[in-house]
């Protein structure tokens, strides 16, 4: 076997076409990971700057406040999802879903749907990241490398002679294809490994990524192998293979996406917003109890302090902000669950399409998939809850304002 491989490698060295495709694969991989690493660094820098600016702004806003209510009103808090140590390989949803917010203690539904995303063209066209290379481009390169192994020998009229002289055909075709697939995998993966070292990604992640790339190349190899057994002209084989690629990379995902979205409707985001807004605004004109009763139902420990006598009190203001969120909660839950079930079903369907599968698997490893974006939003909700849990026990019993206590304001921790 080893002898066969050595022989095929020396043949390959003379095949200019093959060398071109392999070099191209390497160059594209280098480009993809270096852009990825640059982008991830930029995002980390942005987050570092934001943390600093955010703290400065909050300190400034809190200065000179005299009430708990106004301190909570003016203090914004940065929340963010830092790119993972593998995000350079798959930017995934980070271009179309927001990964940073500044929230305060007002109704969260009015804040969390803000989308501070990048240039819309980015989300539309997509980036050339490693996940895209491995999922969509690498199979095409593999097809171009392998489709005419047999057919080119046929064209050169050597095919039958070759098959007759070797003991078994596997001794001939297997090493020949193996050398190509192996080199393609190696050239694609080397830049990824180097970038992973630079970014100090975890070994487990890298191992899985490597397995995914190799696995997908093996599947495509199998497809090419099956097709190229057909005794047809190389151009017909190539056309057929490109057709299969189109079906698996474009048609199947597009059809499944349409079907999944139709069968898993999510509520219109505008409705969430409208409901929350209307509730908050109506509260101004309603009797105070209409706000305080549903509020106390969720916060029984504050029942003793929930009677509002005057026309205005901060605690009433924050109570109706929260009641707005409470009212919108069922819709929000539907929206969140709709997103997650769409994502789950997309995960199942992606088993039918190697390109979708690879892209999704990379996004999952990189924590840039839809579930990670939902997890970030959950972390923001959790932080907002902490913020309320900090302020309510001070604000409701109307404890005297003490600026020193604010140094123990909850600090946002990104999801790990």
């Amino acid at each position: 076997m080893l002898r066969n491989i050595v022989r095929e490698t020396s043949f390959l060295a003379k095949d200019r076409g093959a060398i071109f495709w392999l070099t191209l694969a390497f160059a594209l991989s280098v480009v993809a990971v270096s852009f990825g690493v640059t982008e991830v660094r930029e995002q980390r820098e942005t987050i570092a700057t934001l943390i600093k600016e955010d703290a400065a702004d909050r300190a400034n806003a809190l200065q000179g406040q005299e009430e708990w209510g106004s301190a909570a009103y003016y203090a914004f808090h940065l929340t963010y999802a830092p790119p993972s140590d593998f995000a350079f390989a798959a930017m995934g949803q980070r271009d179309s879903s927001p990964w940073k917010h500044r929230v305060r203690m007002l109704a969260l539904e009015g804040q969390i749907h803000e989308s501070d995303t990048r240039n819309a063209d980015f989300g539309l066209v997509g980036r050339f990241d490693f996940a895209f290379l491995a999922a969509s481009v690498a199979p095409l390169l593999l097809i171009l490398l392998l489709y005419d192994l047999r057919a080119s020998e046929r064209t050169a009229r050597r095919h039958d002679l070759l098959v007759a002289t070797v003991g078994s055909p596997t001794q001939l075709w297997l090493p020949r294809a193996l050398v190509r697939v192996g080199l393609l995998a190696l050239l694609l993966l080397t830049p990824l490994w180097i970038a992973a070292l630079i970014e100090s990604s975890s070994a487990g992640t890298l191992l899985q990524a490597t397995a995914i790339v190799i696995g997908s190349l093996l599947i495509w190899w199998l497809i090419v192998e099956l097709v190229s057994r057909i005794d047809a002209a190389p151009s017909i084989l190539l056309t057929t293979l490109i057709g299969i690629w189109l079906a698996l990379a474009i048609v199947v995902p597009a059809l499944s996406k349409a079907a999944i979205e139709a069968s898993n409707p999510v509520p219109d985001g505008g409705e969430i917003l409208l409901l929350q807004r209307e509730t908050v605004n109506d509260a101004w004109d309603l009797p105070k109890e209409d706000t305080m009763i549903p509020f106390v139902e969720e916060h029984p420990e504050l029942a003793d302090y929930a009677v509002i006598d005057g026309p205005w009190a901060w605690k009433w203001y924050y109570a109706f902000q929260h009641v707005g969120d409470q009212k919108a909660a069922p819709l929000v839950k539907q929206y969140r669950e709709g997103r997650l079930s769409r994502d789950r079903q997309a995960g199942l369907v992606s088993l039918l399409s190697p390109t979708s599968f690879v892209e999704r698997a990379f996004e999952k490893l990189a924590n840039t998939d839809a579930a990670s974006m939902v997890a970030y939003e959950d972390a923001v909700r959790e932080f907002h809850a902490q913020l309320r849990a900090f302020h309510y026990p001070l604000m409701f019993p109307e404890k005297p304002y003490d600026a020193n206590l604010l140094s123990s304001l909850p600090v946002y921790k990104p999801p790990s």
Binding site: T117, D121, V125, V137, L144, T155, L246, E359, D369
Partner: protein, 478 residues
């Protein structure tokens, strides 16, 4: 029948006999038809939904009861962007940006609830639109049909016969080109149908048919590239391989590479980042809610002098309304400055992206397509600007009501009890200050002139490719 048409007819006869070609063409045609119908339906539904939402938002605003005018500033309003008629062919950035925006006092919000945020994620190509089929799939079909267009004659030995009979390589190439051209023309039918339909929905003929023209040029570029490859290259499989590489490069790699490059070359800070810088400045301006802020001392002196009174209580207008209006104007100027800066940086990124059209005709057509359809980034920016104008106008009109129709003493006393707070309200008729908002696409002239550069790039590609075909056809030897 001239030799050119005879050659073209012969080509068609061969295509009709090839199962691969017929199958490929049928599949593409079916996909195109299905995607077009689905997209037309979806966009039509979205369009009527958005319009309804816009009208409903206005109705609820008008229907608000008597209130303190500043409450209405915070009650806010919504602006919706219905998709333009041509979005049924090219939905463009609409899916990524979100199409509704909440408008309120003292804040500029972002557009919310982009479709992509809740979409089932199945990788980069799952969001099929008629436009993306034209951009990606039709060139591939032309490649399958045409990679051996000229080569075939060489392989079968008929080239020698024809040249010997005195047919020139150019004439032969013209016949082949005619055959491809008829294919392209046939596949333009769905787009022409969409274009005609869009004009019946109020789209201008100029924009719709510039779009048709753009795609026709784009497909001709590919046709010419395919023809040139089949003339120059000597082996079917090599020709197909080279063309597929060209497609891979132009349609898959370069567009995404261009996105990476424009993002790396121009750093456009996000809204939160620029807001933080701005907030520091904003604090210097003072808080519009607090009329006693020192930053307003100067304003106070001016207004007192203007009305020739000594104290704000003596003013014929409500001082708090004056302050709200003044600080809203100051803040908006500041916010707009930052928003413009951000949008300019994004526009600069898009220009870099367009520039890559010189490396890939797919980029040129996709930019032209979005621009002509009115679904490009520039249109989204205009939506942001127009909704901002809407916001500023209604907020300032409410502030004017605050200043002129609500007595200062009553206003200051508003928290003294239920009766006092009831008196600090104005009649709901005042809410009529809100303008109707109907977002419309740019004029066709505007869009076509914005698409000039991309269309120019496409024309350049066409000239280049045709010249290439011409030169290689003239040099045809055995």
């Amino acid at each position: 029948m001239s030799p050119v048409t005879r050659i073209a007819r012969e080509e068609w006869r061969l295509w009709m006999r090839s199962k691969v070609v017929v199958a490929a063409a049928l599949i593409v045609a079916t996909l195109l038809a299905a995607t077009t119908l689905l997209t037309i339906n979806r966009i039509a539904a979205e369009q009527s939904e958005r319009l309804e939402q816009q009208i409903a938002a206005e109705k609820t605003f008008f229907a608000q009861p008597d209130r303190h005018p500043h409450r209405m500033v915070h009650y806010g309003h919504y602006a919706f962007r219905p998709p333009p008629p041509l979005a049924m062919f090219e939905p463009g950035v609409d899916a990524v940006t979100g199409q509704s925006i909440f408008l309120e006092g003292h804040r500029q919000n972002t557009a919310m609830f982009a479709d992509t945020k809740a979409a089932a994620d199945l990788g980069g190509f799952a969001a099929l639109t008629p436009a993306s089929l034209y951009q990606l799939l039709l060139p591939l079909l032309l490649i399958v049909l045409g990679h051996a267009l000229f080569l075939r004659e060489r392989e079968s030995g008929t080239l020698a016969v024809m040249l010997a009979q005195g047919q020139s390589g150019t004439k032969l190439a013209a016949g082949k080109a005619l055959a491809l051209l008829t294919v392209i023309t046939i596949f333009m039918i769905p787009l022409v149908a969409v274009a005609v339909y869009s004009t019946s929905l109020g789209e201008s003929g100029l924009a719709a048919f510039s779009l048709v023209g753009g795609y026709f040029v784009y497909l001709c570029v590919w046709g010419a590239i395919v023809l040139a490859a089949s003339i120059i290259l000597k082996q079917r499989a090599v020709s197909l391989g080279v063309l597929i590489f060209a497609w891979l490069f132009a349609a898959l790699v370069v567009p995404r590479f261009a996105i990476n490059a424009s993002s790396a070359m121009v750093d456009a800070p996000g809204k939160i980042e620029s807001d933080l810088v701005m907030l520091a400045e904003q604090r210097k301006l003072g808080d519009g809610h607090n009329a006693a802020d020192p930053a307003f001392q100067r304003l106070q002196a001016e207004v007192l002098e203007q009305y020739e009174v000594e104290t704000i209580e003596e003013l014929p207008i409500n001082w708090r309304g004056v302050v709200a209006s003044y600080s809203e104007a100051e803040l908006t100027e500041l916010l707009n400055g930052y928003a413009e800066k951000r949008m300019n940086l994004e526009a600069a990124q898009s220009r870099i992206f367009d520039f890559f059209g010189l490396a890939s005709p797919t980029i040129a057509i996709s930019s032209a397509s979005r621009t002509l359809s009115g679904t490009d980034l520039a249109t989204h920016h205009r939506f942001l600007r127009e909704s901002e104008t809407l916001r500023f106008d209604f907020v300032q009109s409410l502030n004017e009501v605050h200043a002129e129709e609500l007595d200062y003493a009553i206003d200051m006393n508003r928290n003294a009890g239920p009766e006092a707070s009831r008196r600090a309200r104005v009649n709901a008729e005042a809410w009529q200050v809100l303008d109707e908002f109907r977002f419309v696409p740019d004029s066709a002239g505007e869009r076509t002139s914005r698409a000039m550069m991309s269309m120019g790039t496409l024309t350049f590609w066409l000239l280049l490719a045709v010249a290439f075909v011409f030169i290689s056809a003239r040099r045809v030897r055995l």
